[in-house]
Symmetry: C2
Subunit: 117 residues, 2 copies
C-alpha cells in the first residue's frame, strides 16, 4: 500500500476577544465536541493554563494531533490540525475542524499554511 | 513588547532501520535527554504504541510542542519541533533538537519545512 499523505493546517489567528485566550476550559469543550462530531480517537491530551494568563494544549489522536498555543497579550492563537489518512481520507475533516475553531474564536487569519505530509 | 515568532520545523524522514519506529520507548529516552539537555519544561506528554506496530507521541512544552508519528511499514517518521521565543530565543535549540532526532534515527530527509510563527 502506498503512503497516503495527510493534511496539516498551521494557522496564526488574531482573536479580538482576548478572554477566549486566557484559560483553556472553553476551548477544551469545543475541541471535545469536534472530536466527537468527527468520530476521531483521542489517545490522550495535555491542557495547561499559564500564570497569569494564556494556555497551551496538545491533543494526541490516533489520526495525528491538534495543538493550540494562546497569547492573550497579543490577541493571538497558533493552532495546528493534522490528521493522517491511514484508515480513511480525513482531509475534509481537517479543514472542517480548522474552520470550526476559527469560528469559535471569531478569528481573523494572520497566516495559514497547508501541508500534505 | 512585540511578538517574537518562534521556529517550527516540520519534517518527513526516511528511516532505514524500521525497528526504531516500531515502539516509542527508545525515542522517549532520546526526547527526555534532549529536554533535559536544553532545559526545556515539559508540561505533560502522550506516548502511544499502535498494534501491531508504530507509535505516536506529543510532548507539550511550556515553549510549545514536539510531535512524532511513526510509520514503520513505510520506513518513515513525521516529526515537528516547535519552540516559542517568549522568554528567550530558542531557534538554535529547535534546530539542535531536530538534528539530534535526525541523527538518532540515522534518517534521510524526505522533506523539511521551517516556519517562523
Amino acid at each position: 500500500m502506498t503512503y497516503q499523505p495527510g493534511l496539516h493546517i498551521l494557522a496564526e489567528l488574531s482573536v479580538p476577544e482576548a478572554a477566549l485566550l486566557v484559560q483553556y476550559e472553553k476551548t477544551k469543550e469545543c475541541i471535545e465536541a469536534l472530536i466527537n462530531r468527527h468520530q476521531l480517537q483521542s489517545l490522550g491530551e495535555v491542557y495547561h493554563n499559564f500564570t497569569p494568563h494564556g494556555f497551551t494544549a496538545v491533543i494526541c489522536l490516533s489520526e495525528s494531533h491538534i495543538s493550540l498555543h494562546s497569547w492573550p497579550e497579543y490577541n493571538r492563537i497558533h493552532l495546528d490540525v493534522y490528521l493522517s489518512n491511514f484508515l480513511r481520507n480525513n482531509d475534509a475533516i481537517t479543514q472542517s475542524i480548522y474552520e470550526a475553531l476559527k469560528n469559535f474564536y471569531h478569528a481573523e487569519e494572520l497566516s495559514v499554511q497547508t501541508l500534505k505530509r
